[in-house]
Each structure stands twice: as C-alpha cells, then as structure tokens.
C-alpha cells in the first residue's frame, strides 16, 4: 500500500487511496470533511481521486509495494480480474429471461392454431376471387375448426357450403346450410339464395305451384334481372306441361321474351331454349337432361 502526507494538515502517512488532490494539493479524509463540509468545491478547481496502484479497487487487497494489473484505470487483483472478466448474469436475471423465453414459446405453440386459421382465411380470398366455391367452403371449414371461438368462420362455411350444394342441385341441404347464415350482411344475398334453394326444392318435389310462387318472389326482388325472368318462365312452363292451360304458356313466353331482351348471352340462351323446349314438347326436362338430349343445342322448329 502506498502512503502520502496531507498537505493541508501535515498528517503523515495517510493511505494514498483515502486522499484526494484538490487544486494540486493533497487532502486527507479529515481535511476534506473539514474544508468542504457540503462536499462542494469552487467551480474550475481540479479534483483528482487518488488511486493506489497496489491496492485492488474492488476488494481492497493490499499487494504490498507491487503494482497490480489494471482494468481501465483501476488496479485489480487476480481474483477480481477473473470475476470482472467473467461477470455472470445473476441467477434471478437468468430465471427472468428463461421465463420470458418460456412464455414466448408457450404462446407461439398455444396460438399456433390462430396462425393456421389465418392462413386458411387468407387462402379464401384467392379462392373467392377465382370463383372456386367448393374450395372456399373447405377452407372456411378448416379455419372454423382451428378457431371455433370465431362464430363468423362457421357461418361463412355454412354459406359457401350452401352455395356449393345449390350448384350441385342439393336444394334441401343447401337451404338447411343457408338457414345458419341470417347474421351475414345483406350483400351476401342470403335470403335470395335461400329462396332459390326453396324454389329448387319445390321443383324437385314437383310442387310446381310453389315453384312458381318462389320464382315470382325472386322476380319481385329484381324485375329487371334476366335470370329472375327466366326462372318465372321456367315455372310457368312446368305448370303448363302439368295443367295444359294456354294462358300458362303465354305467361311463360312473356317472361321468356323479357329474359331474352335483358340477357342474350349463349349461356343464358341455353336455359331459355330448355324452357322453350318444355313448352314445345310439353315435357318437363331438367337442364342436364336437355343438354344430354341436345348436346349441340335445340331451336324451336318454325
């Protein structure tokens, strides 16, 4: 350990570490207390903390007269040097970080089904744009299975499954599926599709009067819709075949004329030709039967 005399009170052999240089003058502990009771020195005065290069700054180990190695400006004994260089994280900090890591991992695993559900929902956007209704229904079913808490997913599954069943002429099942969808916004046209399913059910049951009523119900919804006009014409054509009244044929032709005027595309024309065929042949045929019978189309003979 090094020693130094106080230049203020002339005390001899003060441990070097306990003294401070103020304005180039060495002060011992007592003099510092006495001269600067509020521990403030005038501005501009230089202060130098004396560091004994033979005493460890961390554990105060006295190394005699031999200087210790330094880390930064501090003399450090061999033991403290090892501790400083290899300072470990306290156990509680390690525990805290481990806890955070565990929570994150648990949360990722716990919430993984939401990511899967989200992926399915994202895929439905593409399938809807592509008009792939069966795939859309399947994706919503998968999403709903992953996130059962979100009831809208199940409803959307019922909706697209209902549409899919309508396409495959399973009207009863379609109606049942669409009945779950009343909570959907108006632009999903749930009521329209339900009526359509009902209409198809009556057709399949050969209840042509109700078939006509539901067709008219749809027509009232939009009288300028070609499909709605064609549906009414179709219903009148079925009634004409079963009851044989010419007034029913006239009605069918009137609605068919409106449909032709509104949409004369080849796809629509195929349906109109089927209705015309029913009126001409006095025979109820489905679109499938008609297409099978006349794969190259049919035109009423003049």
């Amino acid at each position: 350990m090094k020693y130094i005399d106080c230049e203020n009170c002339d005390t001899k052999a003060n441990p070097f570490n306990t003294t401070i240089g103020i304005a180039g003058k060495v002060y011992c502990d007592n003099c510092i207390e006495a001269s600067f009771p509020d521990k403030k020195v005038p501005e501009g005065v230089t202060i130098e903390k004396h560091i004994d290069s033979t005493v460890c700054a961390f554990c105060s180990l006295d190394n005699g007269e031999v200087d210790l190695d330094k880390i930064a400006e501090y003399p450090v004994c061999a033991n403290c040097a090892v501790n400083i260089k290899n300072r470990a994280f306290p156990l509680w900090v390690k525990g805290f970080l481990a806890f955070i890591a565990a929570v994150v991992l648990f949360s990722v695993i716990w919430n993984w089904r939401f990511y899967q559900g989200y992926q399915y929902v994202i895929q439905t956007k593409e399938s809807i744009e592509a008009g792939n209704i069966p795939l859309t229904a399947e994706l919503f079913a998968k999403a709903a299975a992953k996130v059962p808490e979100q009831k809208d997913l199940k409803t959307l599954y019922h909706y697209y499954n209902g549409l899919n069943l309508l396409i495959f002429d399973k009207a009863k099942e379609a109606y049942s599926e669409l009945s779950f969808c009343s909570v959907l916004p108006l632009d999903y046209n749930v009521e329209y599709y339900k009526t359509l399913a009902q209409r198809n059910m009556y057709y399949n049951d050969k209840d042509y009067l109700r078939f006509l009523n539901t067709s008219l119900q749809m027509w009232y919804g939009d009288t300028t819709n070609a499909e709605a006009n064609a549906f009414v014409a179709s219903a009148y054509s079925c009634l004409y075949v079963t009851e044989g009244h010419d007034s029913l044929k006239t009605k069918a032709e009137q609605y068919l004329t409106k449909a032709w005027a509104l949409d004369a595309t080849p796809e629509a024309a195929k349906y109109y030709r089927m209705v015309e065929y029913r009126l001409y042949a006095k025979q109820i045929v489905t679109m499938e039967e008609f297409t099978k019978k006349y794969p190259n189309g049919w035109v009423k003979p003049l």
Partner: protein, 175 residues
C-alpha cells in the same frame, strides 16, 4: 399529455428495464468488455445500469450502447406477435394475450438507448469519422434520433415506440 412519475413507469414496465440492462451486459460479454457493476432493476434514478470499461473499438462501443435497441425491439415483436393474432384478427380475447402485450410493450418501451449511451457513441464517432469509419458516419443520424427521442419521452415517445413495435408492426405484417 399527463405526467406520471418515472419511478412508477419503471415499476409498471420493469421487464423492459431488466431486458435493457441485460442487453448492455450481453454485448459487453460478447465483445469482451469488462463489467465493473450492474444493476438490472431498482426503484430509483437510473432504474438500472451497467458500468463497464471503456474501449477504443468503435464497433464495440456502438454495439454495447445500441444493444438494448436490437434486443428489446426484437423481443417486443416476438412477444406481441402471438398475442396480436387472436385479439386483432379473430376477436378472441384471453388473459394470456393481454399479459403478452403488456410484457412486449413494456420491453419495447425501453428499447431506445439513454443519452449516456448516445454520448458514449458520439464521443468516439466524432473522432472515428475523421478516419472515414462507415459505422461512425451512420451513427450520427442515429445519435440525433436518440437525443430527440429522449426529449420526446416527456410526451410518451417510449410508449408510442413500444406500441408501434408490438401492435402496429404485427398489424402491418398480417394485414
């Protein structure tokens, strides 16, 4: 804006302080910088600190000072991402999600280094820039941003940063 004592904020967001100091310490260890003392959390000012030796290596100074920015930001995002999906996208709320959001945002709030850290970078950067050190050049706008951010802490910039990383960023990622 209303004033809440810093000590109260520190208590409420204590995980962020622990992670902040952990990040300083981690980069000290990675860059072989001797650490004299470390406090990971306390009720006081500062709420945590790591006292380490100085170094002439600017990359080391930069990494040690900026460590919390990288670690806290990354952890904030990692913690909030799983919590975001059920709440925001599926309206499914559970206590775990809210706990994670608190944890993540608390950590994100303490991502930005203090002015002491910025000073350490600045003091070396102004010397290193004379030698054309690229990191020193890049660090100047970063230092400016840190100083500005620390002024804006008065108007809750730290909370906004935590929310931006923990809530806004996942929203942008998942749409």
């Amino acid at each position: 804006m209303f004033f809440i004592p810093g000590e109260l904020i520190a208590i409420v967001t204590f995980p962020g302080i622990i992670v902040h100091e952990f990040a300083h310490m981690l980069f000290c260890r990675l860059r072989n910088v001797a650490v004299f003392d470390a406090c990971y959390f306390r009720v006081g000012n500062p709420a945590g600190y790591v006292i380490h030796e100085g170094t002439e290596n600017f990359t080391t100074t930069f990494l040690v000072s900026m460590g919390p920015f990288f670690v806290n930001t990354l952890l904030c995002l990692l913690i909030c991402l799983p919590a975001y999906m059920p709440i925001e996208f599926f309206d499914v709320e559970n206590p775990l999600s809210y706990f994670l959001i608190w944890l993540g945002v608390s950590i994100g709030m303490h991502a930005v280094p203090s002015n002491v850290d910025a000073n350490a970078i600045f003091n070396q950067a102004k010397e290193k820039i004379k030698t054309g050190n690229l990191l020193a050049i890049i660090s100047f706008p970063i230092i400016g941003a840190i100083y500005l951010f620390n002024i804006l802490r008065f108007v809750w910039a730290d909370l906004f940063y935590g929310v931006a990383i923990g809530i806004w960023l996942p929203r942008e990622i998942f749409g």
